[in-house]
Amino acid sequence: MNSLRIATMLACVLFAGSALADNSGGATIARQGNGHGAAPCMACHGADGGGQAAAGFPRLAGLPQAYLRKQLEDFANGTRANATMQPVAGALTDAERDAVVAYYAHLPIPTPAPVAAPTGDVAARGQTLATRGRWSDGLPACEQCHGPGGIGVGDHFPPLAAQSATYISNALQAWKQGARHNDPLQLMQHVATSLSDADIAAISAWYAAQPATPPKEPQS
């Protein structure tokens, strides 16, 4: 009897410990904030982590954990200058950052609100830049790093598919203007300097309308 009670208590403590280090602490921060300065993430990024496309608040659900973690670090230290995120990230402890990014990385990708796909010249420009690049300007295709259909690759290359067009466009402009310089090997800063405003508008519209999950490959 006694030993059973101890075992149960131990199990509870262990469980609580692992849950705290893991997603439930993150879920709480996402819903309620951390009680000492960080607002609830949900307020801008949506209840399901899908973001608010029109306002340019990005989807976080299903993004690479290491990528999200680095962004929090960079908002706090200013290499990614952002007036909204800097105080939030700065108010999170390291453990809270870990917890909240684990939570978002494991959230299922919500079905995005349908986005009107670009047409005509905009579509052609967006698709060409996304899938072929423009090597005459030294520009590789976006998908050479962000993966087929822009679904994201590994820890460092976040998905672009079904991301808010406003958000993508803001990010590209921030790189171009130097407000954002937290990219590995300066890849995006360099790429963004070769993009015109029309290019940025076309790519953003193109990716916003792409499906978030990998297109099914025909088995050949």
Binding site: A21, Q65, A66, R69, K70, E73, D94, D98, A102, R132, G133, W135, G138, L139, P140, E143, Q144, C145, G147, P148, G149, I151, G152, V153, G154, D155, H156, H181, D183, P184, L185, Q186, L187, H190, V191, P214, P215, E217, S220
Partner: protein, 309 residues
């Protein structure tokens, strides 16, 4: 500052201990751009025709098919491919980009005598070599639809290029010998700083949705010991002009040689011409200081292959 760094280090340790990826370690810091070598496209650079000008007829169909094969041979020439690479991985922009051995630089230069096999090679035979070695597969027979389509694509791209004239931008740049002999340890440092982000810590590359995004640089899924990229001089020239992707010509020549040496000092699939003995195979096919086949680097005898079908 100091305590912050300590905390970062500690948290990284803790994270690692919990088997979470440590974010600090994840992203290499940016490197200052090296003094740019002049890559300015000379006005005289050959301009291949736009894809949109592929004719809309039966010949055009073969040209377009050749382009598809070049971009995705694992799909369109599956029977002849034995790894996760595509032609485009080493010949950028679907074989159009100067200094990455473009097809318009190659096509007008064949037939040509090649010391690799001691005979005159037609363009189709040159293509066969790519399948045997770079693709670690097997050569399509002469006249095979795959070779016909690839040759059609190369021919179309070379329109208006002079025959038998080596155009600027052909092949990979030939770098001058480096000040210091290429070195494994220095190459490893460059690799971790500038390459692992994409090609992975073990050169294994990265895939997404079952497709190769970042090609493997060594190991069972990369080019084999008979491929041109196995030679350190070829690899150094390619890397200098084209890597890290989109940041070509930012590495110093020394860095390019060192990292090429590092890459080529790893095991990969056996040379299909392997005669049963590494030293004999070296003497027959790798008798150049630019090949590490049969050399011992870090206590490992190179040329053993990866034991992969």
């Amino acid at each position: 500052m100091k305590s912050k760094r300590l905390m970062l280090a500690l948290s990284a340790l803790l994270l690692a201990a919990c088997d979470h990826p440590a974010p600090q370690a994840a992203a290499p810091t940016a490197t200052p751009p090296a003094p740019a070598a002049s890559t300015a496209k000379s006005a005289a650079q050959f301009q291949p025709p736009a894809d949109s000008s592929i004719p809309n007829d039966d010949f055009g169909k073969q040209i377009a098919l050749g382009r598809e094969i070049f971009i995705d041979p694992g799909r369109y020439a599956k029977a002849y491919v034995g790894n996760q690479l595509s032609c485009e991985n080493c010949h950028l922009d679907a074989g159009r980009l100067a200094h990455s051995a473009p097809l318009w630089g190659a096509y007008p230069m064949y037939p040509a005598y090649r010391s690799k096999n001691h005979k005159v090679n037609t363009f189709a035979e040159r293509l066969q070599g790519c399948f045997n070695y770079s693709m670690n597969g097997k050569a399509p027979p002469l006249g095979d639809p795959v070779l016909v389509a690839l040759e059609s694509y190369a021919y179309w791209m070379s329109r208006n290029a002079p025959i038998g004239t080596s155009l600027p931008g052909r092949g990979y740049p030939k770098l001058a010998k480096p000040a210091q002999a290429p070195d494994y340890a220095r190459g490893e440092t460059v690799y971790k700083r500038d390459c692992a982000l994409c090609h992975g810590d073990n050169g294994q590359g990265q895939q997404a949705a079952g497709r190769t995004v970042f090609p493997p640089l060594w190991g069972a899924q990369s080019f084999n010991w008979g491929a041109g990229m196995e030679q350190v001089n070829n690899a150094a020239g390619f890397i200098k002009a084209n890597m890290p992707l989109s940041r070509g010509n930012t590495l110093t020549d020394q860095d390019a040689w060192d990292v090429a040496y590092f890459m080529d000092a790893h095991e990969r699939p056996q040379d299909p011409r392997y005669s049963g003995s590494i030293p004999a195979t070296r003497t027959s096919f790798h008798d150049t200081p630019d090949s590490l086949y049969g050399a011992t680097v870090n206590g490992h005898l190179l040329g053993q292959g990866t034991n992969q079908p």
